[in-house]
């Protein structure tokens, strides 16, 4: 078995505790995330996934239960929480609004600089991070204002990558991007994880995005882990997902409906080309109805 990088044990978080507005956002959650996985987190608005993500790098403190990073209880020694934040990098929704430096280079260098790294190491990290997000060196001296929306988003993500976190967390990295920008960012994330071997966790409302790149899918519902498994395992439970206000990828949904007529079909299909191949052979083989 692979090493566990993040683990929660009965993790609980309560907002506005002791007031009439008290709300339990995370309710006794138990999950183990293995090193090197690319975990997609899904859950409807208010399911507790953002609260969970904020626990992953110590932005919130548990009201109950524990959270472990690399086998160590994050909150055992309060003074160490800063270290946690260097190990687990979070990139929030619409991170492009957080760019503030004069140039793309300076913005990406901000994180590594705060880590107290020397100049050469900072430089190496910035250049490497720019490569990961597909911005060539000509972007280094540009002002963030001169970039397109998609480029700004990627520059902001590079700022977190440059800190070389063991775990990179991206909250809705593709929200608001057009289909081409979305595909590009997804393949960059996948490639980053493959070349660095680091653990990547991303939150998304888009089931197609999850199916495209995740190695594991975590479904959060009512502050609990409702499912945790491979893309196939999770998306085969279509009815349960829909009952939670979620969905399955668009092609999968179509295949589920076809499966009712052709039970021999495997509905675990997420890619249009593969789907077309399967249906083609189904027809050529003289498809038999149920």
């Amino acid at each position: 078995m692979k090493e566990i990088i993040l683990e929660t044990r009965e993790l609980t978080h309560i907002y506005a505790k002791g007031t009439p507005y008290e709300k339990t956002a995370v309710n006794g959650m138990n999950i183990k995330i293995e090193k090197g996985e690319l975990v997609g987190i899904i859950g409807h608005t208010g399911s507790g996934k953002s609260t969970l993500v904020q626990h992953f790098n110590g932005l919130l403190k548990p009201d109950g239960g524990q959270i472990f990073l690399d086998g160590h209880d994050m909150w055992e020694n309060k003074a160490d929480i800063r270290k946690v934040r260097f190990k687990v990098g979070v990139c929030f929704q619409y991170p492009e609004y957080q760019l503030f430096e004069e140039t793309v280079y300076k913005d990406i260098a901000f994180g590594p600089k705060n880590m107290g790294l020397d100049k050469d190491e900072i430089n190496r990290r910035v250049i490497e991070a720019m490569k990961y997000v597909g911005l060539d060196e000509s972007y280094a001296d540009k002002s963030a204002f001169d970039l397109s929306g998609g480029e700004k988003r990627r520059a902001a993500i590079a700022g977190v990558m440059a800190m070389s976190p063991e775990v990179l967390i991206l909250d809705e990295p593709c929200a608001g991007l057009d289909p081409a920008g979305r595909d590009m960012l997804l393949s960059l994330i996948k490639n980053y994880r493959e070349s660095t071997g680091s653990t990547v966790i991303f939150v998304s409302h888009n089931m197609d995005d999850i199916a495209k790149i995740a190695t594991r899918v975590l479904v959060v519902n009512d502050g609990k882990e409702a499912m945790y498994g491979t893309v196939d395992e999770v998306f085969s439970r279509c009815d349960e997902l829909k009952a939670m206000g979620l969905d399955v990828p668009a092609v999968t949904d179509l295949f589920m409906k076809l499966k009712m007529i052709y039970p021999q079909l495997d509905a675990g299909v997420y890619d249009i080309n593969k789907a077309a191949d399967i249906l083609y052979s189904l027809l050529k083989g003289g498809a038999v109805r149920a």
């Binding site: 409807h44 929200a175 608001g176 409302h205 206000g245 979620l246 409906k257 007529i261 249009i272 027809l283």
Partner: protein, 285 residues
């Protein structure tokens, strides 16, 4: 049908310290009819949002003319008349809530128009019922889900009794359920209340539900037709950084493999129907 919004050779450029920027919208001519449901697609930076903001005088054309029901949006004295006719809903639901109770938020618009209190009460109730949020009228808006917040925002526009609603990526930040709720509300106000709808989106499955789809690319309108017409060109759309709905894409891929799928398949139901027919014919020849 009568035209409600007319773009006549419109160009718009954002001002950046006098630097000559490329136009965000360039020589755009367009007519939107009363009661029409128009979806606008396009890559990031294609000019979609600029188009939306030109519809109700948030932006004024640099050259050319936009008219709403015959009134020029450049006429400063008519700006309130225009905004009374065309309302906007934006992407981020949290940026457009002004009150601490749902019904107060919906009442904000008509109050500012100086509508009688009893009439405001009637409009607010009616608007909230139209979007399925009446039972939440006494809730706090910030505690609602994204889909609910967007429906409250739509109710706020309805209460102003505008003829047209422009929605700029209203579902971009929502979960699957929220997206469906908003889509349902929008369709209802188009089909049942005959509101003109201009709907900007990156989601192809939402665009197929419109009467008409406009595709923007590099500040220009490059496709304009029914959803069936526009989505029958998947390669062209892909080259523009866009996509097609899954059923249309799959149907196109099967065609490329020599299967005689009919044109104009946009949803699962019509895909399955066509697939069944082909399979039936195949088994009987």
């Amino acid at each position: 049908m009568e035209d409600l919004i007319i773009f006549d050779n419109v160009t718009y450029r954002y001002d950046s310290d006098g630097a000559a920027l490329k136009p965000a919208v360039s020589n755009l001519s367009l007519k939107i009819k009363k009661g029409e449901f128009v979806a606008v697609l396009g890559h990031n930076g294609s000019g979609k949002s600029t188009l939306a903001k030109l519809c109700n005088a948030i932006l004024i054309p640099e050259s050319g003319r936009v008219t709403v029901d015959g009134t020029d949006t450049a006429d400063e004295e008519k700006i309130y008349d225009i905004r009374r006719k065309v309302g906007m809903v934006f992407q981020n639901p949290d940026n457009q809530i002004v009150a601490t109770v749902v019904e107060d938020d919906v009442a904000f618009g008509p109050e500012n128009l100086g509508v009688e209190p009893t009439e405001i009460r009637r409009r607010v109730d009616e608007a909230l019922k139209s979007v399925g949020m009446y039972e939440y009228r006494l809730h706090e808006p910030h505690r609602l889900s994204g889909g609910q917040k967007q429906r409250v925002a739509i109710a706020g526009i309805l209460a102003m009794q505008t003829d047209c609603i422009v929605l700029d990526e209203p579902t971009a930040m929502l979960d699957p359920k929220g997206r469906k709720e908003v889509m349902q509300a929008v369709k209802k106000l188009n089909r049942e209340l005959s509101k003109t709808v201009v709907f900007i989106t990156h989601f192809m499955d939402e665009a197929v539900q419109a009467d008409r789809v406009i595709v923007m690319n590099k500040a220009e309108k490059i496709m304009d037709g029914t959803a069936k017409e526009v989505f029958s060109h998947p390669e062209r759309l892909k080259a523009l950084g866009l996509d097609v709905p899954a059923a249309a894409g799959l149907s196109h891929e099967l065609k490329k493999r020599g299967i005689d799928m009919p044109d104009g398949i946009l949803d699962n139901e019509s895909f399955i129907e066509a697939f069944e027919r082909i399979n039936f014919e195949g088994n009987n020849t």
